[in-house]
Structure formats: structure tokens, C-alpha cells
Subunit: 237 residues, 6 copies
Amino acid sequence: MRPSKRAPDEMRRVSLERAVARYAEGSCLVKFGETHVLCAASVEDKPPPWLRNTGKGWVTAEYAMLPRATLERTRRESTTGKPSGRTQEIQRLIGRSLRAVVDLAALGERQITVDCDVLQADGGTRTASITGAWVALHDCLQWMKARNMLKGDALKDHVAAISCGIVNGEPVIDLDYVEDSNAGADCNFVVTGSGGLVEVQGTAEGKPFSEAEFGALMALARKGCGKLVELQKIAVL
Amino acid sequence: MRPSKRAPDEMRRVSLERAVARYAEGSCLVKFGETHVLCAASVEDKPPPWLRNTGKGWVTAEYAMLPRATLERTRRESTTGKPSGRTQEIQRLIGRSLRAVVDLAALGERQITVDCDVLQADGGTRTASITGAWVALHDCLQWMKARNMLKGDALKDHVAAISCGIVNGEPVIDLDYVEDSNAGADCNFVVTGSGGLVEVQGTAEGKPFSEAEFGALMALARKGCGKLVELQKIAVL
Amino acid sequence: MRPSKRAPDEMRRVSLERAVARYAEGSCLVKFGETHVLCAASVEDKPPPWLRNTGKGWVTAEYAMLPRATLERTRRESTTGKPSGRTQEIQRLIGRSLRAVVDLAALGERQITVDCDVLQADGGTRTASITGAWVALHDCLQWMKARNMLKGDALKDHVAAISCGIVNGEPVIDLDYVEDSNAGADCNFVVTGSGGLVEVQGTAEGKPFSEAEFGALMALARKGCGKLVELQKIAVL
Amino acid sequence: MRPSKRAPDEMRRVSLERAVARYAEGSCLVKFGETHVLCAASVEDKPPPWLRNTGKGWVTAEYAMLPRATLERTRRESTTGKPSGRTQEIQRLIGRSLRAVVDLAALGERQITVDCDVLQADGGTRTASITGAWVALHDCLQWMKARNMLKGDALKDHVAAISCGIVNGEPVIDLDYVEDSNAGADCNFVVTGSGGLVEVQGTAEGKPFSEAEFGALMALARKGCGKLVELQKIAVL
Amino acid sequence: MRPSKRAPDEMRRVSLERAVARYAEGSCLVKFGETHVLCAASVEDKPPPWLRNTGKGWVTAEYAMLPRATLERTRRESTTGKPSGRTQEIQRLIGRSLRAVVDLAALGERQITVDCDVLQADGGTRTASITGAWVALHDCLQWMKARNMLKGDALKDHVAAISCGIVNGEPVIDLDYVEDSNAGADCNFVVTGSGGLVEVQGTAEGKPFSEAEFGALMALARKGCGKLVELQKIAVL
Amino acid sequence: MRPSKRAPDEMRRVSLERAVARYAEGSCLVKFGETHVLCAASVEDKPPPWLRNTGKGWVTAEYAMLPRATLERTRRESTTGKPSGRTQEIQRLIGRSLRAVVDLAALGERQITVDCDVLQADGGTRTASITGAWVALHDCLQWMKARNMLKGDALKDHVAAISCGIVNGEPVIDLDYVEDSNAGADCNFVVTGSGGLVEVQGTAEGKPFSEAEFGALMALARKGCGKLVELQKIAVL
């Protein structure tokens, strides 16, 4: 039995609330149970240096947690002088995931930054971020389209993400903080609307896992991401 | 006429929502119109170094804005390597304001940090932060009292803050961003529940102001802070 | 009785010595009793980025203390990696105070930086800095005028500053370090030659102060700043 | 046909040279073709802070490239002020991989740091680092055993790593720089001597990959890691 | 003919004014012509970490220039985040020079820091700093002796320093900024009161120098340092 | 007797291996006994800012040690946030030494950076670096010449360096780590192929040295550098 009483293949309650940030070109407050992330997309009329004069644009992401998003207060990264390795790893992952479904040439020489700020953290913040960031990005691209800023359709597909892991020997989906702390394997899957794999990350905690176990986790994840994509479709109707 | 159609002595709609951060010992989402700040208080069983072995505690504050709290996205301070001068000035102000109404000896050797994270900024973020931080601090001290962590009553009074300024030659209260950008004088007042002054900060923008003008602003502020204290009382009933 | 035997409205002996820095365009060694600050103004033919192509210039200030300006040696800020919050707060204050009396359009696209380096600190370093920086700025503008670098009169007025506080229940002017450490309220006033207020900063230490007390401090400050302006006039004769 | 003329399942020539760093407790110069990494293990009699008084030890890794290890010179990270996101991601991966095969309790309160310095980079530096780091760690643990510093057998298994990817539509193993730059999917697998999975990382470049493609890459990787473990066994004979 | 009309072996006017910093345990304002350095010695009752429990003390130095000590304003090192390579080189040199004439065991577990802050720079700031720092150190040690803080005589000898160089083909002593900029060789010599060499640093600018030229510079320096030691003796009478 | 049984004027075995870095324009693995430094020269088609539009180029150097090059592991400078004072001092020395034998005008507006990475350190790393860097620079300039990138002969002479010191009262050449730790004087000499002095650095450790002692060290160094230049000539044949 999972601590949350959920079935092994049962995700937490997911909600995707749009237009929550008054000034952003697109925004979404995503909740996976008690994990809450505010995603806000901003357009800038200047691409990163390496894209100048290529006609192409870029999509990137930044990720942070409020100091008291967590059980214990964590130190603010502006006072430690730099984002931690974990933070950088996560924001690189979010950025790659979004770029996988965007036609960068359609953006022109612009950059979209999606800020993912975790207001409350109960496990799975990076997968919630990706899922919510897609909605913010979608609305941002709509905003740009309405202003004739895009060359054709920039958004090629949905992208969503979920964590799976082996807890007490059993493969389960969408781990909360308690499960995450006790998982024997912790995997994150990023999947497109058409079922393609964008990122697969599996890490053994404690002892290595087998190929069969990994297969079971991937099956759970594909099913879960399918549902998340359905929720995204409803959210942006 | 003010851009917001408010009367010169009319504050924006203020709301103080408690218990918004699941893990914090006390929290408050404060809204002054479109300015929204999430205040979360955390207790730590370790005082700052200079209070070791004194039996006394400390109250401090940190302040930050989400990158897209503002009209234009601002750079995240964790990537610039340090909090800006403005950020440090504000968080020092919030900390001093709270300490003015706390009996530090009653805390024992502990530190309370109140994080004020601006989710949306439309002027007056520092005064909203102080007003909301008092509520978060209040609830944190209640939490400590219930666990017998306090020596006597730690909270001596209310404290609230408001900005006033001279816009188009007229003294007005609670400036929003548009007014703030055009103000000839920009003042912040921090006032206790019993009417004492904790901080008075006045800055001329463009041309110096007269003592009479300053007096008018102080009168507005004292009235406004009185109302904010009433709202705090209702909020913590 | 004040520790220094001064009357409540008696400032320390003030001196303003010009042309003390051989290479600077304007300079002043200001002494308020045992508080000594070397102010040096430098012109640069490049405005800050946000003023490019506006035809306007800028005046800014930097502030620092020699490590052994103080009773105990303090750590050099170049080794801590950044100016402290206090340092930034002070240099922003000095800059704002000077800009209040300068016609920035008359400077053309140039920046003047006034460095205020505290050689010895006995309280009131920020107000001494502002008072001395005005002299350095005055001489720098004279130097520029002699070279036809200014469009019209750039210096619109004098500006001077003084601290006042409540010590042992009594309002006094120009606190030295011993008084400053024991003050119940610590206020800084920045006043122009024509009596306008540029900055008003009051902070309660320990318990809040009343509006009447604040009024008494302002009266002292206005009188003191009047005298400082007289001394500036004599100095630049 | 691969640019290097290798068969799809053919790794580059791998060599593992021990005892190359005169002062380290264990060391290995690992070469995967033109990718050369110097791995050096150091024991320190002090665990990281969070393990104090637990009786346990820790294994960690640091990773860096010489500035001219690459085709174009890259800036030295000591001059940029911090390790890049990529560097931190890689050194965290190496550390986790090594800890998966070490009994941390057997180390006592000590820390082993394995430095992986890339002398020359032609793709696959992280997988070469893990494979070579195991040899350096093995020798370091032998050195400790000879001095009775270990409680029982600390090294539980081998661990090796290899990259696989889809290049020109075909799954291939051990990509060099040219292939890596053109790969449609880039995956890294970390596998133990007994065939357990420690880390699985797959990233789509350009377009998402299918589950079948991912399965083909995993099959290649498991075979490759099996061979690498054989080479490790010969190296430490 | 030298630009300053001095003879090749003629130093600038040197003055050593003691007790210029009110709070320091020893201080000296040293002037070599237009080069002015304020040297202040501070005692701390804590040695550097590597001397704990050895019974020995340490002498160290820090060096900085006021931003407008120079012809052109230079950026403050607190804003660049770290002391420059040049600054570190100089403060290491001053520290080594002072330690060469101090019996560190006589200090007990204490550290003396001599701050050398250049108020005005016209060449030769490092040699002026060493010469003046000796006076500040002398007075600091006297202060300690008067408080029975020393075990025996801590100061073993004088130490002074001078620069020499080849300008327009001729060996000259005590270069000012103009000469320094045109020197073919630039050497600094640190010499004790009894004539021993503590540091010898020679750098060719443009083309290498011969052993004979170097010998001529050393002869000039030994004579000059002899005079500086005489001036130190008079200063501390 | 020296710990290494070498005669006082006997250097360690020196080897200079070229073309060790596959991608660099010139490279050399230099060994002075157990001190091993990898030198790699890189050309960049952009001069430093202060040489823009002068037609001239620049030669600079960077220096670093692998963490376990030394007996005890040293912390990586990328994690301390900046190169240490010692590192900066050494890389400035290497750069100046190389520039002394290069015609910067012949380079055009380009910069050559020679990276000196110490793989193993047993004393004398800076002198080995200079000696090896010359070889890397030589090959880099040959590479440029073959591509018609040079205006005339850029390399004017050889440059080599050696350390000498007084150990147990006797002047000896090329100190290893054990001798270096016990030396009474530690001097580094940088000498050109034609015998000119480029840099002379002598530091007393413990007690000052006499002019005669210094002369003996210089004589040893000149002989040693002569031999090193012979070895360079053979290496680049």
C-alpha cells in the first residue's frame, strides 16, 4: 500500500490553471497534489548570442524553489552566489524538453524563457514543471501568433513528464516526497503527445535495477504522460 | 484624478490570507491590489553567531521577486551572483520593522526568518511585505507558544507600512506602479499598532519637497496604517 | 550631558579642505570631528548604458571604509566578494542626494563618479560624505565648465546632510559613534541650500518614536544643514 | 558507414593504464580512442558534514577538462567563477555511479574523491571517466585495505559506462565527437558487473525517439559495458 | 636628464608620519614624492588556522588603491569581486618582507595585519608601502610590548624597499610614474637594516637586460635602502 | 649531499615532448624529473580589447595544477571561485617571459594563449612551465607561418627558466619539492637564448641572503638556462 493510498498506476490529482501571472505572455499554475509550480513564459526580442543572424529563435527555462517550499527551509540561491548543480540540471532538462516540440525557425530571432518557480514541493517538481511549462509556452505562442510574430506553426506537439520509481519493490507512478525518499529507483520520463520519448532518466538509489524493472516503469510513465497530455488539451481549449 | 480613480486618501483593496504555505510555521498571502506577496515564517533552533550564549533570539527577513512579477522580465538574482542593493535595502527594512515589535529575549536562542516573495508587483511591494510579514510572524509565534517555546509574550504590538507620495502636486496614499513612476516624492512609513513610528523614509524624485508636503504625507500614512492594523486584527481573529 | 560635552544642537567641528587629490577633477577632505572622508570626483566620457543617445549624463557615488577606519578592523570588501548591504545603501543615498541638485541634461553624455572613502569613522560617515561630496562635485563641474563641457549651469543648489537622534531621551544633532550606539532613534536628513528636503530617513532603535520627537529632530537638522551650506559656500569661495 | 569505419556495435580501442599519478592513492589513465581522461583517487580522513558521527564514509567525484582538450579552446572554469551546469551534471553522475558499487559503511568516516581530468576530448568523456574512475577507486581501496582502514570488503561490484546513439537512423555504440554532433538520440548507460542498471540517460536531439529505438540502444550498451568490465578485470589483475 | 630633474641616484623626498590613524595600534603615512600610502597595523588575538596550537603568530599585509589615486579612475576591487592578480602579488610581497624581520614566536598566537592603502599613486607604491609598513609595525609592536603581549624582542631589524630601473639606457633610482612607463627594466629590492637581501625582483620591459646592468641597479638600491633605514630610525626616535 | 644525490650544479633529467595535444596549434609535455607540465598553445583571431586597431597581437599564459598533482590533494580553483594569488602570479610570469622573445607586431591582431597544466608537481613548476611553453609557442608560430598568418619572423629568441636556492648553506640548482621546503633562499631566473635576463626573482625564506650568495645563484642559473636552451634546440629540430 502506498502512503497516499493511491494505486500503483494512480497519479495525484493534477490541475493546470492558466493566465495566473498578470504580466507574462503565457502562464500556468500547475499542481500535482501538493506540488505547486508557477510557470511564466516571457518573450524577448533578442536571441542568445550564438543564434544571431541565423533567423532562428530559442526556448529556455529557469527553475527555482521558494525557500520555504520545502519541509525545512532551504537557503536562497541568490545568497549562495549561484544556482546549485541540481537546479542547473533541472532547468537544462525543462529547456530541452520544450525545445523538442518547438520549431525554432518559426520564432524568428527571439528567445522565450519559461520561469518555473516552485511555490510548494512534495516530490516531482521537475515533471510538474515540464507539464505546466508546456501550457505557459502554448499561451505565449498564441499571444505571439495574434501579433504576427511567428513564421508558421511554432508548436509541433505536446510534451509532458512524469516520475516513476520502485518503492517497496513495486513499480509506482508519480512519487510524492515520502515515496521519493524511499525509492529504490527513481526515473523521469518526458514524452510527447504522439508518444515519442524526449528524455529518459533513471537512477538507482541503493541497489541497481534490472532491465525488466525499468521496462515496467516506462510502461507506467507512457500511460501517465498520455493522461497528462489529455489534461493539457482540456486546459488550453 | 488618480489613474486608478481612487481618492487621494484611498488605499487599494487589501487582503491578508493566512496559512497559504503548507510547511511554514506561519504564512500570509498579502495583496495590495495587484501587488501580491507570499510571506512565510520559518523557525530555526540556532541564533545568528553574534547572539550565541546570550539567551536572545533574532527575527530577520529575505525579499525577492519572481522574474516575471514585473511588466518586463527581470534577471534572477541567483544568476547575477548576489542580491541587488535594492533587494538588500528592502530586506533590511522588513527585518528592522518586525524586530521593533518583538521581544527578542522571549524567543530564546532561535531565529525566525520571514521570506517575502513577490509573486506580482504593481508598486508598494516593500510596504505590502511588512504588513503581510507581521501576520506570518504572528502565526509563527502562536505555533511556538503552543509548543512552549516562548518565554512570555513575544509579540508586543502590530506593525504595518504604507507608501505615500506627491503625484501631480497632490499628496496621495498607496501608489501603484504607474503613480510611483511619476511621483515627485516617494515616502514609506512603518507604524506600530499604538501609533509609534518605526521607520520613516522619504526620497525626492526630481525636485525636493517641503516640510509641509512631508507633513501631509505623514498624516495620510498614519491613517492608512491604522486601517491596515485593523485588517491584521481581523485576519488573525 | 552629551559624552562629548556638546550642547544638544551643537555639531562637531566641521572642515572642508579642497583639492586634496592630485589627479581628481574635484576633491574634498571633509571632517566632522574625528570622522574623516576623502571625496574625489571623476568625469568619464561615457554615460551609463540606459542613458545612451539621450544627451543626458549621470552622477553616481561609491562609498567605502578603510579597514582600520574603525575601532576594530573590518574586513576589506574586495575579499568578501561584494559591497555589503550597508555600503550599497549608503552609496545609493549619496548618489541620489547629489543628483537632486544637478541638471543632468547640462552634463551631456558623461558620468561623474564621486568616491567617498572613509579614512576615519566616528559616526555620521554618510552625512559627512554627502556634505563633502558636494564640494568635490562643485569643483569637478567648475573644471568641466572651464573646458566648455557643460551646457549651461549644471549645479542648481547646495546639498548637505546631518544625522540627528534621540539619546537618553533628548533630541541631539550630529551623533558621534558613542551616541550612535546608544540612540533610541537615528535619523538622517538631506537638505538643499534653499531648504528643500531631499531625503528623510528615520529608524527606531529599540522602541518606536513619536511624531513630536521626529519633528524635533527635523528642526535640529534643518538648522544644522543651514550651517553646513554656509561652510560649503565659504569653502568654494 | 560510421565516420570511423567502425561497425555499429564496435567500441573504440579502450585502454586502462594504472598508477599514472605518483601521489594519488589510486589512479588510471583511461583512453576510449582519442578521448583521454586522467582519474586520480584521494582519501581524506574527514567525511562530508552530513555524515559526521554516523560511522559511514562517502565517495564523490570532480570532473574538468583542460582548456585545450577540445577542438576549440574553452575557457577555464576557475576564471568563470564556478563549474558550469554541464560539469556539475557530469560530476554528480560519476559520483552516483561509483557509490552504487561501494559499501559506504566499510569506509569508516572518510571521503574518497576521484578527480577525472579530461586531457583530450573526442566524445564520451563522462562514460570514459566512470569506467576509469572505477579502476582508480579499486586501487585506492586496495591501498586502504593494506593499511587496515576498511571494515570488510568495500567494493561490491564493477561499474562501467558507455554512450549509445542513433546516427543516420542507425543505433551505434561509443560515439566519437563527430557522431555525437549529428546524433538523433544520445544515451548514456551505467551498468554494474552483474548487469544491474545504475543510470540510464536518454536525450532526443532534434526529434523524439521510439521505445523500440531505445531498446536497441540499451542492448548495445549492455554488451559494451560487459566488455568494459572484462577490460577492468584484466587491468586490475 | 630625468623628467623630475633628479640625479640618477637621487630618491624623491621621503617622509614618514606616525600615528595618523586614530584607532590603529600603529600607523604611518609614508610619502615618496607624490606617492602617498597610509599604513595601519592591527593586532588580532587569533592566528591564521595553520598556526593554531603552535604558540607562534603571523604578520600579513593587505594592499589597495583608492579608485582615484591614479591619473585615470580605476574600478574598485569590491565591485569586481576579487583583488586583482597585481594586488595579490603586492600584498604577498609586503607580508613576506615584514615577516623577514619579525620573530614570529615572540608574538604568541596573534596576527598582525598591516593595511597599506594608497591615497595617491605616482609610481613605487609597493616599495613605499614596505618602507612605511615597517614603521606602523614598529609602533604596533611597541604598543604590544607596553601591554606585556610579547615574548622577548619581536622586531629583529629594519626593512625598507626601493625600485630601480633602466630609463633611456641609464640606471636610475626611485622611478616615478612617467619613468616607470618608459623603463627598459623595472626592479624592486627589499633590504634589511643590516644589508641583507629579502627580495629581489627584476623584470625586463621590451628587451632583456644584462647581468652588468642588473648589478648597477642593485648598487643603487642598496645605497637607497640604507638611506630609507636612516629615515625610519629618525621617524621612530 | 642533496636528498636526490645530485651535484649542486646538476639539474634533474629534463625532457621536452612535442605534439602531445591533438587539437592544439603547438604543445609540449615538459618534465623536470617528477615535475610534469602539459603546455598547449592556442591561437585566437581576436586580440585583447586594448590592442584593437593597433595591428599588434598578444601572448598570454594560464597556469593550473590538477588537484592531485601534489602530495596532498588541493582544492580545485573552479570551486573556490577564482585563481589564487599564487596562480595569478605564476601565469603573469609565464606570459611576460614569453612576450620578451616574441615580436608582437608580427602576429597581427591575434592572441596566443599557452595553457600550462601541471599533471605532477615536485617543485619548479613555474620554471618547467616557461621552458616547455616556449616549445609549444614555437610550434604554434610554425603552424601560423605555414598558413601565412605572420608578418615576418615572430620568434626572436629562446627563453628558458630555472630555480636556484640555498639549501643547507649551499647554492644549488633546480630544487625539488623536498629541497624547496627547506631552502633559505628561493630564486627563479628567466634567461634568453642570447643570455639576456628577462626576470630575476629572489626571496629569502627565514633569513636574508647576501649579495655574494645571490651572485652564486645567478651563475648557476645562467649555466642551467644555457643547457635548457640547448635541449629546446634539439627538441624543435
